[in-house]
């Protein structure tokens, strides 16, 4: 079964698995190499064993779609530092915009602009990129402006089960007074 340059075949499979961001199916690997799927499977097993044996930083996993190298789970705390996107603190403008959306949803950009007295374009972008707000259709008025609402993760990160749990406005005034 193993043929002419067995080591090369194995290395090429490694190269393919390495370069692909997505899992590769047995079929795709076999077609790329012009080899039998059985042969490929044989090498995949070897690659898997190699990774285990030599304590590599990554291992070969088999998922529904195929085979893929993934980093060793126990290294996640380190990998996370590199892979995790860093976030800057939300600006006061973004916070205000978020608060308005939270209490007045669904709400349009121009309504937010009017309450804040300034344009909220970039705040809306930031909040949307972070998945704190989302679009919810359009208002049926002139220009059909986009309506914004808060997202599920907004609730999750504030530790709320539903929007009803948002403190009422009277309470907010209390807080405001207390904080003075």
């Amino acid at each position: 079964m193993p043929t002419l340059f067995p080591d090369d075949t194995k290395s090429i499979i490694e190269a393919l698995l390495f370069v692909s961001g997505e899992p590769l199916s047995l079929k795709v690997i076999a077609e790329t190499l012009g080899r039998d799927e059985r042969d490929v499977l044989y090498y995949l097993k070897e690659i898997k064993a190699d990774c285990e044996k030599t304590g590599k930083g990554f291992i070969l996993t088999e998922v529904a779609e195929g085979y893929s190298f993934v980093t060793r789970p126990e290294f996640a705390p380190y990998v996370e530092k590199i892979a995790k996107p860093r976030l800057m603190a939300l600006s006061q403008a973004a916070l205000e915009t978020l608060a308005i959306i939270a209490y007045r949803q669904p709400v349009t950009k121009s309504e937010i602009d009017e309450i804040r007295g300034v344009k909220s374009e970039s705040s809306l972008n930031t909040l949307q990129e972070r998945g704190l707000i989302k679009e919810a259709g359009r208002r049926d008025t002139a220009g059909r402006p986009i309506l914004y609402v808060t997202s599920k993760s907004f609730l999750k990160y504030l530790g709320l089960r539903s929007l009803e749990e948002l403190p009422k406005l009277q309470e907010t005034e209390k807080i405001e007074n207390e904080s003075k």
Binding site: A15, F18, V19, S20, G21, E22, A76, V79, E80, A83, K84, P85, R86, L87, M88, A89, L90, Q92, L95, E96, L98, A99, I100, A102, Y103, E114, I115, R116, G117, R130, G131, L132, R139, D140, T141, S153, F154, Y157, L158, G159, L160, P167, E171, T172, E173, I175, E176, S179
Partner: protein, 253 residues
């Protein structure tokens, strides 16, 4: 004289000159300007149409070459050799050519490096998957519920102060909402509703318009029927029920 049938793709006048210098095996520091000018003009004539922007640059170079040629034909001042070193009219052009030449050569080296690199592949990172594996930190950062409330109060107070100037926030009713309202009302009254009744609770003029538009829209979609038994009789609005059930939700999609 042999004309090249295929005109090589030159990057500009300097590139053409370098090509001519190379082809004629000329010392770049001692360019036979008459020969080069002649060949350069021949080249220009051979290219046919150039795009307008390039043309001006090629023509400018032709002028430069011709003016150098003229300067070189002029008799030199007799005592020039003794008194001062007279500048070669070709000097500026030679410097430009040399400078361009070195970058052109580097571009060729870059080309080789590019080719060499093109066979090494980087890992394609699946950003989406990474994000799901390592979800971004709390997108709110350290913002707490209280922070948000404070921000809201702050905004409201600011808006309050400006209220006299700003137009008052009025309740807007959309056609969509009105449609929903009408359909709900009609569903409860299979016998139909008198047209005017639909306007009975409407107080503001814009709401009248919205209500009317909503009715028109419903009629257009075939959701409601309007019936009038005679001239000046009441117009009755019916919900048109077709086979299968409809809920008000269907009408507002």
């Amino acid at each position: 004289m042999n004309y090249e049938v295929k005109i090589p793709d030159f990057e500009g006048p300097l590139d053409v000159l370098l090509h001519l210098i190379e082809k004629n095996e000329i010392d770049i520091y001692d360019i036979p300007i008459a020969l080069i000018t002649e060949q350069y003009l021949e080249y220009l004539a051979g290219v046919g149409e150039l795009d307008l922007e390039l043309t001006s640059e090629f023509l400018l170079m032709a002028c430069t070459l011709l003016s150098i040629k003229v300067k070189m034909l002029l008799p030199k001042h007799k005592k020039a050799e003794e008194d001062e070193i007279e500048e070669d009219p070709r000097q500026a052009l030679v410097e430009k050519l040399l400078e361009y030449k070195q970058y052109k050569e580097k571009a060729a080296e870059f080309k080789n490096m590019e080719t060499a690199q093109s066979i090494a592949f980087w890992r394609e990172v699946d950003e989406v998957k990474l994000l799901s594996e390592f979800p971004a930190a709390n997108p709110l950062g350290s913002v707490s519920l209280q922070d948000m409330l404070k921000a809201y109060c702050h905004v409201l107070r600011r808006a309050e102060r400006k209220k006299e100037v700003i137009s008052i926030d009025r309740e807007e009713i959309t056609i969509q909402e009105k449609i929903r309202e009408i359909v709900t009302a009609l569903e409860e009254r299979p016998g139909g509703v008198v047209f005017y009744e639909l306007f009975s609770s409407v107080r503001r003029p814009d709401e009248v318009v919205v209500t009317f538009l909503a009715l028109l829209e419903l009629a257009r979609r075939g959701v409601v029927m309007l019936r009038q038994s005679g001239l000046f009789a009441d117009i009755i609005v019916f919900l048109r029920i077709e086979e299968g059930e409809r809920t008000s939700a269907n009408f507002v999609s």
